[in-house]
């Protein structure tokens, strides 16, 4: 494990967008360790199509912020080689739908290198993927591919829902000696929030209760945390005390935090944009029932994307979990 990102005693508490917080986190990681490298399509001069790497090539040079040829397998595959040589590559997949050409390198090489080498070879790589829908985009630009990664042993998978987490978690992911798929909720890039540099962050793979409640637990991550918090606020008006847990880490899942919450509320609803079948909701339901079958008062419900490809953008709002669907599920959970 490389040095963990540290709190800056005289640091700032700044309000930043989630995108800018990522940019600041990447900047700190580049400063902290000369072995950290960024690579990807259009991340250099352009600063990435979402401008997450804006200004970094200018400040750190073309040898540390590297524009790649247009080939995702090549980007990840060469990053493996760089990692073997002692670098800590942070690669960007331009959109969620374009990670699949790299899928072979990710599953058969990146994920397995430490295991195959009998623990000799670490694979400290971060694969950044802007993911999820809700931005009115064309096909392949709104996917939620987390299951593919969370089902693959050897990978770790995290996602952030606030600028503060974005800032710290990207640094923690880069400091990790394990390969981390870092999912960035692209529809939240422009959400603003306070980034506090002055206190050390919680552990990367820890979940967090982001709203307390006693009636039911909403389990969410990434873009859906905000939606769940909004639902909880509306629910409160209707007399529902809804707890919201931000998973933050999808692999491993922090079952201690999750179970503790559900043990209290006795009811759980998982909310994600990914397709329902074999989405994270399936795993959470399986684990919660296995652990708390006799404690829970109703089965884990799932409010998710449907088992269809992501639809054309004019109708995407009906695909995405929203307040109404979440509150309906709360009603259903409570009425069972």
């Amino acid at each position: 494990m490389s040095a963990q990102p540290q709190a800056v005693p005289n640091g700032t508490k700044q309000t930043l967008t989630l995108g800018k917080a990522l940019n600041a986190g990447l900047r700190r990681a580049l400063e902290a360790d000369p072995k950290v490298l960024l690579a990807g399509e259009d991340i250099g001069r352009l600063g990435g199509v979402f401008r997450i790497t804006e200004g970094l090539q200018k400040d750190f040079g073309e040898d540390r912020v590297i524009d790649s040829p247009l080939a995702e397998s090549g980007i990840v595959g060469t990053a493996v080689g760089l990692a073997l040589r002692g670098y800590r590559p942070v690669v960007e997949m331009q959109f969620d739908g374009f990670v699949f050409p790299a899928f072979d390198q990710i599953t058969t090489q990146v994920a397995k290198m430490h295991f195959r080498s009998g623990g000799r070879i670490p694979m400290p790589m971060v694969i950044r993927i802007p993911y999820g829908g809700g931005i009115g985009s064309i096909e392949h630009h709104s996917e939620s591919p987390e299951t593919y990664f969370a089902h693959t042993p050897g990978l770790k998978v995290v996602t952030c829902s606030t600028p503060h987490d974005a800032y710290w978690m990207i640094q923690q992911a880069i400091a990790s000696d394990d390969p981390v798929v870092f999912l960035e909720p692209k529809r939240r890039y422009h959400e603003r929030g306070e980034v506090d540099e002055t206190t050390a962050p919680i552990a990367l793979h820890q979940a967090q209760v982001v709203r307390h409640g006693s009636d039911v637990t909403l389990l969410a991550y990434g873009p859906m945390v905000k939606t769940c918090l909004e639902a909880a606020a509306v629910g409160a008006d209707e007399g529902r005390f809804i707890e919201v847990v931000d998973l933050r880490s999808l692999s491993p899942i922090d079952m201690v935090t999750v179970s503790a919450s559900v043990r209290r509320t006795k009811r759980a609803i998982v909310v994600h944009e990914a397709h329902r079948t074999l989405g994270l909701g399936a795993e959470l339901a399986a684990r919660l029932h296995e652990d708390l079958f006799y404690v829970m008062e109703s089965p884990v419900l799932r409010v998710t994307g449907y088992d269809t490809p992501y639809p054309p953008s004019r109708i995407e709002e009906d695909y995405l979990p929203n307040l109404d669907r979440i509150l309906d599920a709360v009603d259903e959970s409570m009425s069972r």
Binding site: E62, D67, P69, S73, G97, G136, I138, D324
Partner: protein, 392 residues
Amino acid sequence: MTNLIGHPDHGSFERDPQDMVQLLTPEGERVEHPDFAWCGDDDLAKQLLRDMVLARRFDVEGTNLQRHGELGVWPPALGQEAAQVGAAHAMRAGDHVFPTYREHVVCLLRGVTPADMLGIWRGTTQSAWDTVSTNTHMYTLVIGAQTLHATGYAMGLQLDGMVGNDDPERNAGVLAFHGDGASSQGDVNESYVFAASYHAPVVFFCQNNQWAISEPITRQTTIPLYQRAMGFGFPGVRVDGNDVLAVHAVTSWAMERARQGQGPAFIEAFTYRMGAHTTADDPTKYRLAEETEHWRLKDPIERLRAHLLRSGKIDDAWLAELDDEAEQFGAEVRAACHALPVPKFSEIFATVHAESTAELEAQREQYQTWADSFESIGADSHGAANGQGVSP
């Protein structure tokens, strides 16, 4: 800091390559080439000009519609009209085309309607046009994936006995477009391997517009792209992509070879993306205005117009008529865009499979119940979509 990783020049490494087929100079002068002759007549030349002008109009409309929030995003083909019009005119109805997301003009000329194309960018469909009657496949947004489809389709033509027949009318071929950036993708290179191995009747048409979003061609290759084909065992030709006559001549040659069973060929159309990558892009971040200016002088429409005017094939009246036609076409495009129906969300469940499943039917019902609950209480908060899009 070491500085040893090879860094591309920013900008195209060649601006005026010698080794390319040209039949019409930027100044509109007709020249001959030892290997390629243009065999069209005056009517065709005028047709090519007309199509390029309408093509550009389509592009202007697309960009404007996006600015007015009617489209989520629009990828302009500005500057690439000759490459598209020349290639499309080299096709026969029975040939099959695999476009990228930028071949609007090719698709129009194949009979795809503006409405069909605009649906993608408006977010009402995902290229759902009639690929059989137009013999033109849908847009593929995953860079390079379509080149393998094209190769497989060409193999299908072989199996169908539609290649190398004595009666040329019974033959057909495939045209597969891809960009300069796409040339780096594994899939694209695999398609070269398969095409060569099976001697398939497919022509790869690489639109080298010098840029892949913000990355110059020099990031993808250090030698001229047309030479890539040599390494796979089939001919590669570089053509002035802003010269519609040369593009037409070279593509006709390559397609005819393919139809006759002489296997694949590769065409590098040397051109330039005059506009942004898409309306979401800002090229001033990564390229110099000076470069764009250099290319403006090579405008594909200007040179043919100059040539036809100078040689008396067209006059101002003809051009004025064309302007009117473009005006009317523009109005049609706008009308088509506004008339695009927003699909019902409930319909998507049934199109996942040819034969649907109980699980999807259950999800449709679940959705429908939920949606109906809104209608009954008169709420309209759901189903609203903004027209804003972020997608390069």
